[in-house]
């Protein structure tokens, strides 16, 4: 049923979740899903998977389409009313209050993902789970918007150790939390700037579409920009560790709205993000069948994609983690060299870097003699960070070797996407 089943082993619950999360099930898909349901699938595992991928209500919709009674369907039916209470009434009221306060201060805001997808794409807010409100704000108004949030009772989140320059480096400010309402993320950009990406924000704002939230007029992204944003969010912000919900979002947009593909391709080219969008569309197609015209794939990325990149993206979607060895990325990279002498040479070079690098790390002048005293500290830090991984690699631990290989793919993939 699924095109990539030959490459990746899908257990029946995962297969069932993917099949049942389609907006419309064909007759063949209904037969396939019904057979999986009848053939001893584990309802608890299916429920857990749906929860992990934030697709519980989408699964419920699918089970209703299948028409088969089951304890799992009964369980989801009981949850549906409570979920709907929040997603259809409580959260929209909170969001409308935030938007009204921003509007009163003359601040424009675009709703990203979350409620906008639930209402304008899924047609039922309860189907699209979310845990915060993502708002795009013009950069010159973002601090004023943050001030408005504090007047509504929001405070900057202190539950995480955010670096001091987080607001400047990240695509959104530190989240704002509220004792009773959902958190708000104020976005100054759609994604963190990287590589060849140059988003035309003037066109994003100019083509924004109206949306109604609890009787309050609001704005969200146009269809073409929504599709591109969903792909960029998954590719650039999360390297595809986004779960099946993100793929479902793409499929729902394409199924529910008329996508101007020519414009999508033109914007991707202009914004330098053809590879990111191509890859997300490819991953979604691996799970849900071809979701875009063949010509779109050819126009976005005529040379196609390396199978290891595609497999890496699929793994991250399914595992909802970023596969690799991010904390020992350099070590993982040098370990890919087949020549042991080259590996050791690279490791030694890391232990004895140029003195200017040590000076920069410890805030010393390049000519300061004290920089030589910092080498033991540098080496101790390296040992502390990478010793466990290094020993596992030396022992040829299969799991660590696999993660090192994934890390090399991760680095190559980031490099590949940055040259779109």
């Amino acid at each position: 049923m699924l095109s990539f089943q030959r490459r990746l082993h899908l257990d029946r619950e995962l297969d069932l979740l993917i099949t049942a999360s389609r907006r419309h099930l064909s007759a063949d898909q209904q037969v396939h899903a019904a057979a999986l349901l009848a053939d001893g699938s584990d309802p608890q595992r299916l429920y857990n998977l749906a929860e992990t991928h934030h697709l519980k209500m989408v699964l419920y919709r699918g089970l209703i389409q299948l028409g088969a009674a089951s304890p799992l369907r009964d369980r989801l039916e009981r949850e549906a009313a409570e979920q709907a209470l929040f997603y259809e009434f409580v959260y929209p009221q909170q969001l409308a209050a935030v938007l009204a306060a921003l509007d009163a201060a003359g601040i424009r805001a675009l709703i990203l993902k979350g409620y906008a997808l639930g209402q304008a794409v899924y047609d039922q807010p309860v189907l699209r789970a979310y845990t915060d409100f993502d708002l795009l704000i013009p950069p010159d108004q973002i601090m004023q918007a943050a001030h408005i949030l504090t007047e509504l009772g929001y405070t900057r989140d202190t539950s995480h150790d955010y670096p001091p320059d987080y607001d400047q480096q990240h695509h959104h400010l530190v989240p704002y939390v509220h004792p009773e309402w959902l958190p708000v993320e104020l976005h100054q950009r759609l994604v963190t700037p990287q590589g060849s990406l140059h988003i035309d924000y003037d066109s994003v704002w100019a083509q924004a579409q109206r949306i109604d939230i609890d009787g309050t007029a609001a704005e969200t992204l146009s269809v073409e920009h929504l599709l591109i944003y969903l792909a960029l969010h998954a590719a650039c912000n999360h390297l595809f560790n986004v779960g099946l919900r993100a793929l479902c979002d793409m499929c729902e947009v394409i199924a529910a709205r008329e996508v101007p593909w020519t414009q999508v391709v033109a914007d991707c080219r202009a914004w330098g993000c053809t590879r990111q969008v191509y890859m997300m569309l490819r991953i979604a197609s691996e799970f849900y069948g071809p979701i875009a015209p063949e010509a779109v794939f050819a126009q976005l990325c005529p040379q196609g994609i390396a199978p290891e990149f595609l497999n890496y993206g699929i793994t991250n979607v399914l595992e909802t983690t970023m596969a690799g060895l991010k904390t020992s990325s350099g070590l993982a990279e040098v370990w890919q060299s087949p020549d042991p002498a080259q590996r050791w040479w690279a490791i030694l070079a890391r232990f004895f870097p140029p003195s200017s690098e040590v000076a920069r790390t410890y805030d010393l002048a390049n000519t300061d003699w004290k920089r030589w005293l910092y080498y033991p500290r540098w080496q101790a830090r390296l040992m502390q960070r990478h010793l466990a991984t290094g020993l596992s690699l030396l022992r040829s631990d299969p799991a660590t070797l696999e993660r090192a290989q994934q890390e090399a793919v991760r680095r190559d993939l980031i490099d590949w996407m940055s040259k779109a």
Partner: protein, 101 residues
């Protein structure tokens, strides 16, 4: 069994309630001021939606008969009477002093 409602009686949705339809067809009603929620079966939800303060009970019966043509008329009338009583008891609908304009 509650008393029989006149078929000329008009009932109106209480404005404090907002509604949405769940994926399974049930209706979820939410009272914004009292923060209460109630779920209704699909037919009761549709009936609630039709209560506009202008349509008499007879008209509501006719509209539901059109939606469910296979339902037996007498049974449908009895069900609608019962449902309206229930909606009135839960204050989901009210009997307006004057018909809605």
């Amino acid at each position: 069994m509650s008393s029989y409602l006149s078929e000329t009686l008009m009932v109106c949705k209480a404005h404090t309630w907002k509604a949405t339809v769940l994926p399974d067809g049930r209706w979820l009603l939410y009272n914004q001021t009292e923060h209460q929620a109630i779920t209704l079966a699909a037919t009761a939800g549709i009936l609630w939606e039709l209560c506009d303060g202008r349509t008499p009970v007879a008209g509501l019966i006719q509209q539901l008969q059109d939606l469910y043509p296979k339902a037996q008329t007498e049974q449908l009338k009895a069900d609608i009477q019962r449902m309206i009583h229930s909606l009135l008891e839960q204050e989901l609908v009210i009997i307006p002093e004057t018909p809605a304009s």
